[in-house]
């Protein structure tokens, strides 16, 4: 009774429990501490520190060459870091992996390939279920070398989740998929998250990421530039727009607004302060709209800053 009074609703209660677990460190699955990596004297990752909580989904972004794939490979232990450490909670768990460019051996059939991968995990009985979930049951006798990139990724994704990993790492998982396959992928990924599997994903399709990820890690030149919850990002920066009299144009443009067909617009980190300022200057406006920034807009802003520097 007391708990209900204190927290008003179940969502707040769950949030507080989640935060308590995080603070206590019990929910952290992997800690990456000050990891650096260089190739032939060229520094690719510098002092990377972050953690992945159990059940958390992290979106890893950055321009080409920012170090995303290197970081994924270090987490997967395909590469060894030059400096720093990785600490798993307990024994290193099984990691599911969907590679960016799946160049698999071409002369196994889809069935043989799936059967082999599942057999390594002692789950060979699930082959047909996996092929059905990947929509590839009719192609079970086709050689994997004859599958399209999208089909291969569907298969790799279903294989990765079929063995119930604790962490799922995906490098551009939807590249090459058609619309229907992407829709199915999103649905399945939501199921995966509901199962409590942590996810570390790179993608260029940010509309998907808003729904599917909890946190954004943005890499720039091998350094983490942003590490923030996506919800925060979307609440934080807002787009304010309104219509007003032409006489205010000069003032508004000097305040950083853009104007298009009588509509004034500005991206701001403090919409309330912006609104107060308009009121203080007696600016009469109509059709006022304050919208949260989309992840896409936010990342575009980061990329613009990067190009600027």
């Amino acid at each position: 009774m007391t708990i209900v009074i204190l927290f008003h609703d179940i969502t707040s209660l769950l949030l507080v429990i989640y935060l308590v677990i995080l603070i206590a460190g019990g929910g952290v699955m992997l800690r990456i501490n000050h990891v650096s990596k260089s190739f032939k004297g060229q520094q690719v990752l510098r002092d990377i520190t972050f953690q992945i909580a159990e059940g958390e989904s992290i979106l890893l972004l950055g321009a080409n060459g920012a170090g995303k794939s290197t970081l994924l490979k270090i987490v997967l232990q395909m590469l060894k870091q030059d400096r720093g450490s990785m600490e798993w909670k307990g024994k290193k768990p099984h990691i599911g992996y969907v590679p960016q460019a799946p160049s698999m051996i071409g002369n196994l059939t889809v069935y043989q390939f799936a059967s082999y991968v599942l057999s390594l995990h002692g789950k060979r009985v699930q082959v047909l279920t996996v092929l059905q979930d990947a929509g590839l049951e009719p192609k079970k006798k086709v050689l994997t070398g004859n599958l399209s990139t999208g089909q291969m990724k569907r298969l790799l994704f279903q294989l990765a989740v079929a063995v119930k990993p604790k962490l799922l790492i995906m490098d551009e998982p939807t590249a090459g998929m058609d619309l229907e396959a992407k829709r199915q992928f999103r649905k399945r990924l939501l199921d995966v998250r509901a199962e409590g599997i942590s996810v570390l994903v790179t993608t260029h399709i940010l509309l998907e990421a808003e729904e599917l990820a909890d946190r954004l890690l943005y890499l720039e030149d091998g350094v983490i530039k942003v590490d923030r919850p996506i919800e925060d990002i979307m609440l934080d920066r807002k787009s304010i727009s309104f219509r007003t009299d032409f006489k205010y144009k000069g003032f508004l443009l000097s305040m950083g607004y853009t104007q298009q067909e009588g509509l004034y617009q500005k991206l701001t980190e403090d919409a309330d302060k912006e609104l107060q300022l308009l009121i203080q200057h007696n600016i009469k406006f109509t059709q006022l709209e304050i919208k949260g920034d989309t992840l896409e807009q936010y990342v575009e802003g980061l990329e613009r800053e990067e190009v600027g520097t």
Binding site: P99, N107, L120
Partner: protein, 244 residues
């Protein structure tokens, strides 16, 4: 252990469908055998009838091609095409993978020896005791491990093209100068002097001496063991360097 068994099964499925293996390791030596035994019918080398002598030569050649070229280049491709990286995200360690590949290759080598011996013996009806067939087969299988290390060495190349060219040169050199295509006695003296020290010649010579009733010479075993140790250590050093 389960991972190794499953991987061997998968690799066997894969290899049996491999056109390169079927063509260069099975079909080509068999065609050579038909051709050369027809040309040299009735001949003998070191007191061994040419048909049997050349059966040993072509079986050795097939084992060299499979171990150096097919095995080496395939490992190279697997490494370059991220297939290995993908595999190691599953319950399979690099050492389990390499053990599986070597077991697969030894099974394929057993298949090659059995196939050649059974098919050619059914055709030519050699009058040789079973123990000799078994002894020769065991020698060839044990000796083929040396050529697998050459395959592993070639697989350390940085480019597929380099590996492919190197494998071709090594296989042709070992086959021709080692007397697998033509008896070494038909070459000039200076070529014979080089050929006698090549692992391919020493490998086949072990089987030829079993056929002539002399038994395998200790010197032969020592030299082949030295070759194996040098190549094996070389392959391990290169592999370590590449990983680090």
């Amino acid at each position: 252990m389960k991972s190794i068994v499953v991987t061997v099964g998968m690799e066997l499925q894969r290899m049996i469908k491999d056109r390169y293996f079927l063509c260069f390791s099975l079909l080509m030596p068999f065609i050579f055998y038909i051709l050369f035994t027809y040309i040299n019918r009735g001949a003998a080398v070191d007191g061994i009838e040419f048909d049997y002598y050349f059966l040993i030569s072509m079986t050795c050649y097939s084992l060299v091609v499979t171990s150096v070229q097919t095995f080496g280049i395939q490992i190279m491709y697997d490494r370059m095409q991220t297939w290995m990286d993908y595999l190691f995200t599953h319950p399979l360690t690099p050492s389990q993978y390499f053990i599986s590949r070597i077991i697969t290759q030894l099974l394929l080598n057993t298949l090659i020896v059995s196939l050649f011996f059974l098919v050619v013996n059914a055709w030519k009806q050699f009058d040789r005791p079973l123990e000799e067939w078994i002894m020769t087969s065991l020698w060839l299988l044990a000796g083929s491990i040396l050529f697998l290390t050459i395959g592993i060495l070639i697989a350390q190349s940085r480019k597929v093209e380099t590996a492919s060219v190197t494998a071709n040169i090594v296989v042709l050199g070992l086959a021709i100068l080692g007397g697998l295509w033509m008896p070494l006695q038909t070459f000039p003296n200076w070529v014979q002097m080089i050929g006698e020290w090549l692992p391919s010649y020493l490998f086949a010579r072990g089987a030829w001496t079993i056929a002539s009733g002399e038994g395998i010479e200790i010197f032969n075993i020592i030299i082949l063991t030295c070759y194996f140790l040098v190549l094996f250590i070389g392959a391990m050093i290169l592999q370590y360097r590449q990983r680090s």
